[in-house]
């Protein structure tokens, strides 16, 4: 679960990471109060005060996407917030805008804590670069020597000497270096205690006045650990993906027109790949995982049919623990419950009890459902159907 910027900053601030003062605006009317809180007291002295307004969307590219604006007056701020709330940034609607004091620029560092997955010895990794403000991939390419990393033994946690070892190489004066040690330790604690997959502070900026501040932050929480973090419940982002996740399904929207339901991430990817080989274009990745019996079919169909790009649905299930006869039942029930529609469904059922399941589907004689004996035939049929001209039936969407 990717947290929004302000959620990530709030979390980090709780652990002692300095962040700019900010206020979240959800409506135009909230801007005036934000301006007053953040700017009017002249919190940063006599310098002219600007406000930065940042669209809260889960994308690292919103700066280029027009999602970050600067306002030099309350009127400008109001206008900017209004504009952002009405826009779409990097493909996301903008329900919230973070208004922050604009801080004077300075040296930018990069800091992250992430789960290292080296098969022999998976451990949390803390990465620090004396260069920051660009994506880690670009950093790795342009300033590979600037990146230092330490691996943390999860049995003992990050040790101060490790944090000091990283901080020492950032080329800061003693005071800032000491503060960096504290920030590294805080970021690690936030990572560990929140079951995060990634905590990234980029840029971590050295203000002209000497202090370090997290100007931007990303935090991703391990979905599997959400039950341990009721305190993070408010931090969900509403999107098709998270709605699917709430149903226990893994859903990723793609560009094509074949709606795909499969069970297992590998099988789903394999089906996508195979469709592509046959010239088809999947509209999505939808893995029911182990919920194939518990709502996976009707919920998945519901999600797919809500996507106007979908022209045909392919259900490709390989039953291991689950029996294909039971899956067939679920498909029949789900399809019968659907509104009458013109989207054809191709089903491929294999694995445990597959002969029975296939037979049951045939017997049900659902008008929109085609059952084919091999996976390859089913895929070919789905591709073929995706290329047919849209029928002109009466029932619209």
């Amino acid at each position: 679960m990717k947290m929004l910027e302000y959620q990530a900053k709030r979390l980090l601030a709780e652990y002692g990471v300095p962040v700019p003062k900010g206020v979240v605006c959800r409506a135009e009317g909230e801007v005036a109060a934000a301006w007053q809180t953040l700017v009017e007291p002249g919190a940063l002295g006599a310098a002219p005060q600007n406000l930065v307004l940042k669209a809260q969307v889960p994308s690292g590219k919103r700066g280029k996407g027009g999602g970050i604006l600067v306002a030099r007056s309350a009127a400008e701020a109001r206008e900017a917030v209004t504009r952002l709330l009405a826009s779409e940034v990097c493909g996301f609607p903008v329900p919230e805008v973070l208004a922050e004091q604009q801080l004077p620029g300075g040296r930018e560092l990069y800091l992250s804590v992430l789960t290292g997955t080296a098969p022999s010895n998976p451990r949390p990794v803390v990465m620090l670069s004396a260069e920051g403000g660009m994506e880690i991939e670009d950093l790795a390419r342009e300033f590979p020597d600037s990146i230092n990393a330490v691996r943390v033994d999860p049995a003992y946690g990050l040790l101060p000497y490790q944090a000091r070892g990283l901080a020492r190489r950032a080329g800061l004066d003693a005071t800032a270096q000491a503060q960096l040690v504290q920030i590294i330790a805080a970021a690690y604690r936030a990572y560990w205690e929140s079951d995060a997959e990634l905590v990234e502070i980029n840029p971590l900026t050295l203000l002209p006045t000497g202090g370090l501040v997290a100007l931007d932050a990303k935090v991703t929480i391990d979905n599997a650990a959400r039950h341990r973090h009721p305190e993070l419940e408010g931090a969900r982002i509403d999107s098709v993906e998270t709605r699917a996740a709430a149903l226990g399904l893994s859903y990723v929207e793609l560009e094509g027109d074949i709606g795909l339901i499969s069970n297992g991430a590998g099988l789903t990817m394999a089906t996508m790949d195979h469709l592509a080989l046959l010239g088809g274009r999947p509209a999505n990745f939808l893995d029911t995982g182990e919920r194939v019996l518990r709502g996976g079919i009707p919920d998945g169909l519901g999600l797919l049919l809500a996507n106007p790009a979908v022209r045909v649905v392919l259900i490709n299930i390989f039953g291991g623990g689950v029996r294909c006869d039971v899956i067939a039942e679920r498909i029949v029930e789900a399809v019968r419950a659907l509104p009458v529609g013109h989207i054809p469904i191709v089903a491929s059922l294999h694995g445990r009890n597959d002969a029975v399941g296939q037979e049951m589907l045939q017997q049900a004689a659902l008008p929109r459902v085609t059952v084919l004996p091999t996976i390859e035939e089913a895929l070919r049929e789905a591709v073929r159907l995706s290329r047919e001209p849209a029928p002109e039936e009466g029932s619209g969407r």
């Binding site: 880690i136 650990a225 990723v252 590998g266 990817m269 390859e376």
Partner: protein, 291 residues
């Protein structure tokens, strides 16, 4: 011949009294697996379909000689189940449940490194030695005893590959999924070593996925340590970068673990890469013919 499990393997099901646990213990038993005990705390003394239930793994080990644990408890309790199994000296843990917090697996793996216990999973479909022993979810009828070892990160797709092999009359020595989570117990290398040493295995199928670098590492290992023929397939050729595919599964970012890098590494190690399950099965047939 086979690796890790065979007809003599004695299995205890952790979480046997749950709906999931009782259903799968029955399926495993139907396949012929020696399911000698179950464990559910607080239900010790009862039984499920004739299988005695204990309060702890230690008791199941003591009283029924169980040496392998199949973990079928809900994901939040998997860490505890695995620690219990390691602490009481089990030989093998097959961790079948999806949705285990990554931090739990990290700590589990740290603990395992201090022991001689092997863990398959979490989020593994299990392990099957066709005709002898199934500890997991595999649809047994798809499998056939024979000379091909299959090791996979994917679950259901590995069934499909086995099914394609069986359709061509090619049986399998042992098939297993190492698990689809970011961190797994046994690695490709652990399993390749065992297939290489197993007299009953003549060829190996390695099913990988995009994301992370397990396949690249496996390729390097194969080049140095595996003389038996290996055929591979990598899933996710068409997955868009930066998107997470599946619960905690494949994610590609920034040139690490891309489809292209994996295929290149494997081909450099002399491992042909198939594009579909059917193609993989035919490649195996070809490889076996040549040997």
């Amino acid at each position: 011949m086979s690796i890790i499990v065979d007809a003599g393997t004695r299995v205890v099901i952790q979480g046997i009294t749950g709906k999931f646990g009782s259903y799968h213990s029955q399926l495993m038993r139907d396949y012929g697996t020696k399911v000698v005990a179950g464990v559910t705390p607080g239900k010790g003394g009862s039984e499920v379909g004739g299988i005695p239930v204990y309060d702890s793994i230690a008791e199941a080990r003591e009283e029924q000689g169980a040496e392998v644990v199949a973990v079928l408890v809900p994901a939040p309790f998997v860490k505890d189940a695995v620690f219990e199994a390691v602490d009481c000296g089990m030989r093998l843990i097959v961790s079948l449940v999806e949705g285990v917090p990554v931090k739990d697996t990290m700590l589990t793996k740290r603990r395992l490194s201090e022991s001689d216990c092997l863990m398959i999973g979490p989020n593994s479909p299990g392990i099957i030695t066709p005709g002898a022993c199934l500890v997991g979810f595999m649809p047994g009828h798809v499998y056939l005893p024979g000379p091909v070892g299959v090791v996979s990160r994917s679950g259901t797709f590995s069934y499909q590959v086995a099914g394609e092999l069986t359709r061509l009359g090619i049986g399998q020595s042992t098939c297993l999924g190492i698990g689809g989570d970011p961190i797994s117990g046994v690695s490709f290398e652990d399993i390749l070593t065992r297939f290489q040493a197993d007299e009953g295995t003549e060829a190996i199928v390695l099913i990988g996925e995009i994301g992370r670098t397990a396949e690249e590492e496996a390729a390097a290992f194969i080049a140095r340590h595996v003389s038996k023929p290996v055929v591979s397939i990598i899933l996710g050729a068409t997955a868009p970068p930066g998107k997470q595919m599946g619960h905690a599964g494949a994610i590609i970012s920034a040139g690490r673990g891309t489809y292209a890098s994996k295929v290149a590494a494997l081909e450099e190690a002399g491992v042909p890469v198939a594009r579909t399950a059917t193609e993989a099965a035919h490649m195996v047939a070809e490889v076996l013919r040549r040997n």
